[in-house]
Symmetry: C2
Subunit: 430 residues, 2 copies
């Protein structure tokens, strides 16, 4: 049998601990599958004395993560520190610079610096792998990079943030509003104390930009990506969507066409006949549409120590087997620079909900703004007045350019009739 693959591990939080527990628990099986043992030889974390329920005395402890990255006994460095820059990036550069392979679960760092790191990995002919960075335990990077490799991918989209999907499914099941469910999720540890990255769509955006590069063979372009989240979705929106035959999901969606690369994280109405409508709780799911294979779906646990560790160790097994190549499925130099698409040109159906004052002429004003922008209305529902005197008006439009909807909303801005910001959601074209 070949010599063991020797791993230096930076970061001993829940995922780092999970990786060590997994390597211990499944050691014999992993050795059979990888053709050699995979052994942690050195670790680094902020606090050496913290009790993590794992015997760390068998590993070399290195205080300085950058020193760990250059550890003489390590073939591969695993980074589970987090953060797009700072120590994680220093560690990544040091490891690849020292000729080590590098595995990370760090979506923010890959979204911002993936191309530079891929070039470094290529230069030293080492692996750079980040399966755990997207959709946790779901092998979707492998699915795109290898499984769907024969296809031109027209569109990739999915449910990329488990916290948002957990909140939306619970709002749906219980008819309660966002703030209540968020507070509950925080108390249960399902949402962070500062949930901004999750609920405002930034975490999903990091993942989407990684998927888009691999799917389309384009240079990572996180800066071009527009993201919004779920903060302003009401239980009433979810109820209206249900009566129309839809479920509300926060989707990351990207496509590459003649007009450029489109990437966006935005709440959508998903028709009940679509598999993403049935993805509930913190599960993640990604759809890729290929020109020969058609529609593929990859689904599973998007976070947690076990699933994330599963993806990290899968990357280590690929490295142990010697089965890896360019991280973006092609050499970094072959990735195309693609301009950002103008989203105003996109055509689709939309759901727009207004909170309005209970006064004469409100509907006429909204309808006129839509008409003047050339947007045709498929259905309009007004629901009764709530205790604060406001009412809801929900519109579903016929297919229209997004620019036109934006024009209508611009025209209504500042209207005395509206008591809050309109909520605009796209209807997934399934």
């Amino acid at each position: 049998m070949a010599e063991a693959l020797r791993v230096a591990l930076a970061g001993l939080g829940t995922v780092g601990g999970g990786v060590i527990r997994l390597l211990d628990a499944n050691a014999e099986l992993i050795t059979r599958r990888a053709g050699r043992r995979i052994e942690v030889v050195a670790v680094s974390a902020r606090d050496r004395t913290k009790d993590r329920g794992i015997d760390l005395s068998r590993f070399d402890w290195v205080d300085d993560p950058v020193a760990l990255a250059r550890h003489a006994d390590a073939d591969v460095v695993v980074e589970l520190v987090g953060g797009s820059d700072g120590p994680a990036l220093a560690l990544a550069r040091a490891a690849l610079g020292a000729g080590k392979s590098f595995v990370t679960a760090n979506k923010a760092m890959i979204a911002h610096h993936g191309l530079e790191l891929a070039q470094a990995a290529e230069a030293s002919q080492r692996a750079l792998k980040f399966e755990a960075a997207v959709a946790g335990g779901v092998p979707v990077i492998k699915g795109l990079r290898e499984g769907a490799a024969a296809n031109e991918i027209g569109r990739v989209y999915g449910i990329l943030n488990g916290t948002c999907n957990f909140i939306l499914s619970k709002m749906e099941a219980e008819g309660r509003d966002f703030a209540e469910i968020l507070a509950e999720a925080q108390a249960l540890g399902y949402a962070e104390a500062d949930p901004t990255f999750d609920i405002d769509g930034i975490d999903a955006a990091h993942k989407l930009s990684i998927l888009a590069s691999i799917a389309f063979g384009t240079q990572p372009a996180f800066g071009d990506l527009k993201a919004s989240g779920i903060r302003h979705i009401l239980a009433a929106d979810i109820a209206e969507a249900a009566t129309l035959g839809y479920r509300v999901r926060l989707l990351g969606i990207a496509d590459a066409g003649a007009h450029g690369l489109f990437q966006r994280v935005h709440a959508h109405l998903v028709p009940l006949g679509h598999p993403l409508a049935h993805v509930t709780g913190s599960t993640n799911a990604v759809v890729a549409e290929g020109n020969f294979v058609g529609r593929l779906l990859f689904q599973g646990p998007g976070a947690g120590d076990g699933p994330t560790a599963s993806a990290v160790v899968a990357d280590l097994i690929d490295i142990a087997r010697g089965e890896y190549g360019p991280p973006y499925a092609m050499p970094a130099a072959a990735l195309a620079a693609q301009p950002a698409a103008d989203s105003g040109e996109r055509r689709g159906r939309s759901y727009v909900r207004f909170t309005v004052a209970d006064r004469v002429g409100v509907l006429a004003e909204i309808a006129a703004a839509m008409r003047d922008a050339g947007v045709s209305i498929e259905s309009l529902i007004q629901r009764g007045v709530s205790p604060d005197g406001s009412a809801l008006v929900a519109i579903v439009t016929h297919e229209a350019p997004e620019r036109s909807i934006a024009q209508a909303l611009e025209k209504l801005r500042g209207s005395q009739s509206l008591t809050g910001e309109p909520m605009w959601m796209h209807i997934l074209d399934a």
Copy 2:
């Protein structure tokens, strides 16, 4: 750039034609992803003169498939001939014996002879790949072999036959009976003129035995697998299942525990909360449950020239990249010989439907047989008498060993009360 990967292709039916069309259409993209060109250099098929809408003049034509397998210019041989033995197997042995890599979509051959072929591939350090043999375009073999490689897989199951799922979903949507829908599917080309392999579960069984080996690290054991199909499912069964909150799906299901390897293809009631309940039409879907990752789902088109060609070419890209290893995720010698589990020991809930004569004492007889076998009944529905004078009795049992249900059915065998064979379906434990 490295030299082209040169392919000899045997079989120019719909899938063979699809492979050539895909390699033509996506040539530039595939070259970027694979790092080299993938070029068909020689082909073989039964009829040279048939018009396939493809220019074959650019390929060397070889009449004898075994001679093709040894073609001096080929690095890899693709077999799309079909059949578990005969020419396909001769071709496989010749190709691997001549030191070529080998790619096939042939589930029957891999189910029966996969271990022998894997040993031959290992001996010559060449690739043996068969992604297209299971679930068409869905990269589930890669998902298990690599994506979930860090996990002990407890159970793998799914919808593995698109024809059956097409028929069951149509029966469900239209409330019509099996024979009618089958005839329609045959007329439309969705079902074979001789549909036995599909509708009696044999095709799904081939695929399941391949998945089980890779998931569990056990030697292929197609001979131990029990399969049944969907011929005897009535529209009334699907309707009863619906009232109980289930959909009827033909599932291949395998697990590996202390009691041995269990593999079976059988109709199941799938709860509406399970993703497989929402898989309709000819789509395939596979679930794998890992001890760290939890439940993964892979879903997509299970057949057709485009999806199957997508999987075949994905295998070729892996070979072009040099990213392949033992076909069953570990060396053939490391696969464990696992005895077949005794299905009588399995515990679960069941649905059993009887067609009964309209006479006094029928229900008492059925209930007594269940009671005597120690099976507790959760619900029992009798529906009104049909024009031929028979009625339906549908039972859902509490959890019970399968042996007990079998005993009850054995006791009822030959009863004057029953006008046909009982239909027994398992309820998926989600």
